[in-house]
C-alpha cells in the first residue's frame, strides 16, 4: 500500500534486540484469515498477546539486588508478585500493574522493576522507561499525604501561582518534593478537570475547588492532625 517502510520500533513485533528469557510466540494479530474463538480478549488466551500466562513461582524475584537495584523486602515482593499474577492475562498490562504497585507500596521502587520485567517478558530498560515516562509513577516514597496543585491555565487565571507559592512557603518545600517533616508531598498537576471552580487541588485523592490560601491551610492542618 505504501512504499515508505515502517520505522523499526523496539517492540515485540520485531525480533527482540535483547536476549529473550521466555519463548515468544509469533504475533499473528494482523493475519485476517485467522479467526478467533472469542470476540473479546480472553483471560488465559493469548491469540493476540505475545506472552504466555504466568505462574506464581515465576514472578517472585530470583536474586536480590541484582545490578545495583536495592531489593524489595519479602513482604513487598510478595505484594508485587500477587499483583503480577492478577494481571498476568491482561493484554497491555504494564500500566495496570504499575498503578497497582504504586497503590500498594505508595511508589514504584527500583527493586520492583526487575521483578515486573521478568514477569511480563520485557527488559528492565523498557519497564524503567515506562515508569519514568509517566508523571504519575513515583520513584521515591511519598510523604504521608499527597497534595496535587493544578498548574494549568484555568487555575492560573484564578491565582494558582500565588496559591502554589503559598503552599511551598507553608510546607517549606518546592513542587515535586516532600516537606522536611515528611508529612506532605506536593506535586504539580496539569488540570484536574475542575476548571469551572478554579483554582483546584487534590489532597489524598480528594478534589477541592475554589481553593483560597485560608482553605488550603485548613485542609493541610486537618490532614496533619490525622497522622
Amino acid at each position: 500500500m505504501l512504499a515508505i517502510p515502517a520505522p523499526r520500533r523496539k517492540c515485540h513485533a520485531v525480533a527482540p534486540c535483547f536476549p529473550a528469557r521466555r519463548a515468544r510466540p509469533e504475533r499473528v494479530a494482523s493475519d485476517p484469515s485467522r479467526s478467533l474463538s472469542s470476540p473479546f480478549p480472553e483471560p488465559g488466551r493469548h491469540d493476540l498477546d505475545p506472552f504466555p500466562p504466568l505462574k506464581r513461582d515465576s514472578v517472585l524475584p530470583r536474586g536480590a539486588g541484582r545490578r545495583g537495584a536495592p531489593s524489595l523486602a519479602p513482604a513487598e515482593a510478595a505484594k508485587v508478585a500477587e499483583i503480577l499474577v492478577r494481571h498476568a492475562d491482561l493484554p497491555g498490562n504494564l500500566l495496570p500493574i504499575l498503578h497497582d504497585v504504586q497503590h500498594a507500596l505508595g511508589w514504584v521502587p527500583a527493586g520492583a522493576i526487575g521483578q515486573i520485567a521478568k514477569a511480563i517478558g520485557r527488559s528492565r530498560a523498557e519497564v524503567h522507561g515506562v515508569v519514568t515516562f509517566y508523571h504519575d509513577f513515583r520513584q521515591e516514597p511519598p510523604g504521608r499525604h499527597v497534595l496535587k496543585v493544578c498548574q494549568a491555565e484555568s487555575c492560573q487565571a484564578c491565582g494558582s501561582r500565588e496559591l502554589t507559592a503559598h503552599v511551598e512557603r507553608t510546607l517549606g518545600c518546592q513542587l515535586g518534593s516532600t516537606s522536611p517533616d515528611g508529612a506532605v508531598t506536593v506535586e504539580p498537576v496539569y488540570c484536574l478537570g475542575n476548571c469551572a471552580t478554579s483554582p483546584a487541588v487534590q489532597l489524598d485523592g480528594r478534589l477541592h475547588g475554589r481553593v483560597t490560601t485560608a482553605k488550603i491551610d485548613a485542609l493541610l492542618q486537618q490532614a496533619r492532625s490525622q497522622s
Binding site: 505504501l2 494482523s30 515506562v130 494549568a152 484555568s154 492560573q156 488540570c191 476548571c195 478554579s198 475547588g209
Partner: protein
Amino acid sequence: MSEPSSKVATTVYVPRDSTAISLGADEVAAAIAAEAQRRGLGVRIVRTSSRGLFWLEPLVEVAGAEVQGAGGARLGYGPVTPADVPGLFEAGFHRGGAHALALGKVEAIPFLARQERLTFARAGITDPVSLSDYEAHGGLRGLRRALGMAPAAVVEEVVASGLRGRGGAGFPTGIKWRTVAAAQAPRKYVVVNADEGDSGTYSDRMVMEGDPFVLLEGMAIAGWATGASYGYIYLRSEYPDAKRVLEEALAVLRKTGWYGTNIQGSGFAFDAEVRVGAGAYICGEETALLESLEGKRGMIRYKPPLPAIKGLFGLPTVVNNVVSLASVPIVLDRGGKYHADYGMGRSRGTLPIQLAGNVKRAGLVEKAFGVTLRTLIEDYGGGTRSGRPVRAVQVGGPLGAYFDQSLLDLPLDYEALAQHKGMVGHGGIVVFDDTVDMAEQARYAMEFCAVESCGKCTPCRIGSTRGEELIRRIIAGQDVAANHRQLLALCDVMEHASLCALGGMAPWPVLSALKYFPGDFGLPASKEPAHVV
C-alpha cells in the same frame, strides 16, 4: 442512593459530579439526610449528575407532589453549604418554600434555558447509574435502532449527520468509521479517548460521571457499525470518580444484557473495560494513547498506517473522543439530518462549550456552532469573577491561541477560528482578566510543551526548551530584538516540522500572545512579523 421511608413526599436531588463534590455536595447530602431524619420528614435523596451550572454548585433541587408552585418542575436552591441546611428546612424548601438561596425553576434559569442540549440532555436530571432513568429519558433508542439496521447503513447515518470529532482535530467521525468497517481483521477495537488533558475542559468528565450510559451506548453503536467487538476507555488518572461511575454503569449493562456476548439476542457481541492513564498529556494524541494502552511509553507513532487500519495491538481501531461517541446515540435515534440541521458551514451539530478560568458564571453551554465568544463570555459567563475587564481569552486548551478583545466577535466554528490561527479544540474557553501577564503565559506554553513532550521528534523535544529560554530572556530584557527574531524562527520550525499537534501547535499561544500583547514582552506594537499569519 435513596433513603427508604414510609412516607416519601419530596425527592431532593443532590449532584454527585466531582466539581459539586469538590465544593461539598457530599456533606450537603449528608446534612439533608440527617436534618430530615431529625425532623421526621419523608425525604428521598437522589444523587444526580450536574446540570453544568457550576457557579451554583452544590445545587440542590426538589420535586414532588407537595412542592408548591412548581407544576411538576424541579425547584433549585444553591449554592448550598451544610450550614444552610437547617435554615432551608426551616423555610420549608422541601415544599418549595422561599429562601435566600431559592433559584426558582431550574430549567428556567437563563443560562440553561437558552441552550440547545442534545448530548447533555440528561445532565443533572438523571441518576447516572440508573438504567431505567436513562431509558425513561430517551436512552438506548439509538442502539435499538442501530441493531435493526445494516452496519453500513449505521455508518452512513453518522456520515450524514456531519458529526466531527469533538476531541480537537475535528475529523469527520463517519469517515473514520467507514475506514475501520472496510478493514478486514480477526478482531477490531473501539477505543475511547478520555484523556481530557486540556485546561479549561470538563465536558468529557461530565459525560462519564453524569451520563455514562450514553457513552457506552455510543461505543456499542460504533462496534456494531464497524465490526468491532471490544472497547477500551482510556481514562486519565485525574478522574477517579469517572472511573467508579463508568465501572458501575458497565456492570449494569452487562447484567441487563446490553453488553456481553449476545446483546439483546441480536447475536452481536460487545464488551469494554476502563483503562487508566498515568498523567501524560501526550496520551491524548491517538497514537500515543494506543502505545500507552499496549503498556509502553506514550510515544506517538508515525502515520500512516492510520489507527483505523493498524491501531491497538496492530488491529483496526476506532479512536473517538468521549463527546463524539456520546453524540452518536441521538444521531441514530433522531436520524443524521436532525443533527446536521444544527450548526453552520461545515461545523454541524452542537458543541459543548466549557466556560472556565476567571469567569463569573462558569459552566457548560451546549449550543449549535456559530455562537460568538462575546455572547458566551458576557451573556452566559457574566464577565470575570474578579469583576475586572476581560483582557485575554484562550480557546481550545493549552495549544490554543490567545485572543484579545478585538476577536471576541468571532463565531465558534472550526473554520472561522482556523482563519485566525485558533482552534475550537475540545471547546474549552479560559478567561483572563487584566491582571494577566501574557509574556508569562507564553513562557508557560513552552514550558508545558517541554514537560509533556514525548521526545520522539526534535522540534518539539528541544524546541520547547529553547523556546522557554528565549522567552525568559525576552522577559528579562536581554537582547530583545535578536531573541524575538530567533523565537519566531523557532516557532516556525516547531509548527512545520513537529510530528504531532503538541509541538506543532505549542507555538500558537506564543505567537498569538506576541501578536496581540507585544507590550507585555517589552516589544513595540509594530506591524505583525511575516511569520505570524
